[in-house]
Subunit: 213 residues, 2 copies
DNA sequence: AGTACAATACCCCAATCGGGCGATTTTTTT
DNA sequence: AAAAAAATCGCCCGATTGGGGTATTGTACT
């Protein structure tokens, strides 16, 4: 039996959600509130497994309340709900630790599904949100290189590039790898040619951005 | 009309997918292949809007093929499909630029939905995948900085640091922001002091790593 | 045996950089 | 109005860099 607490300022919606929960086997509404005042008390009192949180509410809204709940009741899963799915607030909510993000326009059946999914540790979200999250995710992970764009750096060159990325100057690198300063310079020049850059800064930026190190 | 190309080694499945696509108004299977050999040619020939890609295939599998397709046919959306949803391959696929990720066990109706969603720019995925993506996302997103770690760079300094990170040399920066070379140097020197570094490379590395730009 | 490549090393030269110093003028804050 | 911070410009010096050469060695592949 999944215990659901509802935070939703619109009375009609609130009652509807409550009805949906109580009308679904395996679900149970343990509380329905119009605001997030005293949220700590409300959670403690109702012991929900899942919190259905409206993101647009008067006073303290869902975004600011979410981190608070996560912090004090880490075992509670939070399912954010909104009428819009194009707001940057969603990122705040997701970063705050919300488990899922659905639209109010989803069908009751889907909503129930979403509640069950967050309870099982999943993260239901709209395709739009998913897509934005993926985009950002890909920014952090990306560039796959095929031979060509691997710039064909030799082991030694990669090693030196890594040291440069570590903030070392060329003389320091020479000492570190027990090679003459001029040799390091030779390698560095070749690195620049291969990376199509003309300075140490540009080289390290490329190295980091494209995860050559 | 959404054109779908199918890559799937199992003949039964392949035919089933083809049937589903062709049996759905608005969808159309423009090609069904058992392997990713000559993928470039196959894509060019069939002109798909969406590629349905099995991640587990003999020979060159979906993971390695995805980045290639993205690279050479950026307008093609790729929907990854697998029997497992707990493999780290999914991350490789997502990072490679896949638009969505679904299970083979999803119903045909859902699959069609997913195809339509990726075509519309969405990113359908299973709740489990979504949850793992969110987790990772949350790890990267909130490096909240407070004054101390902001190094108290002025706007001008940040601007110059950004330009340095862009690979520009100091003389080039001076031209770009219409101030004298010496002024840029003065700013740069102060940036170094504030960041506790002693070279352009070290500065840009720090800038990127700590997201100061 | 010959070729190709990586790694090593050195030379020269002009440009740039890093560090230290001081200075003026806005802008912002107090 | 006074003080603080930010932005601007300049000069000096020595070290480092970027770009151009050339050359030797060892290893790997043919």
């Amino acid at each position: 039996m999944i215990r659901v607490a509802i935070f939703e300022d619109n009375k009609l919606m609130r009652n509807a959600y409550e009805a949906i929960c109580n009308g679904t086997p395996g679900l149970m509404c343990c509380g329905a509130f119009a605001d997030t005042d005293d949220v700590s008390f409300k959670i403690k009192k109702t012991q929900p497994d899942v919190v259905l949180m409206d993101i647009e509410m008067p006073g303290k809204d869902g975004v600011s309340t979410t981190p608070y709940i996560i912090k004090h009741f880490p075992e509670v899963k939070i399912l954010i709900q909104t009428v819009f799915d194009n707001d940057d607030k969603i990122f705040a909510a997701i970063c705050a630790g919300a488990s899922g993000y659905i639209l109010k326009s989803t069908t009751p059946a889907r909503m129930v599904e979403a509640i069950e999914q967050v309870h099982d540790g999943g993260s239901p979200m709209t395709p739009y949100i998913a897509s934005r999250v993926l985009k950002l995710f890909q920014q952090f992970a990306p560039p796959f290189k095929d031979a060509e764009e691997n710039y064909a750096l030799s082991v030694r060159e990669k090693e030196i590039l890594a040291l440069m990325t570590g903030g070392h100057g060329l003389p320091a690198i020479a000492e570190k790898i027990f090679v003459s300063y001029e040799t390091v310079r030779t390698h560095v020049k070749r690195i620049y040619k291969k990376l199509h850059v003309a300075s140490a800064s540009a080289a390290v930026v490329k190295a980091i951005r494209e995860k050559l190190v």
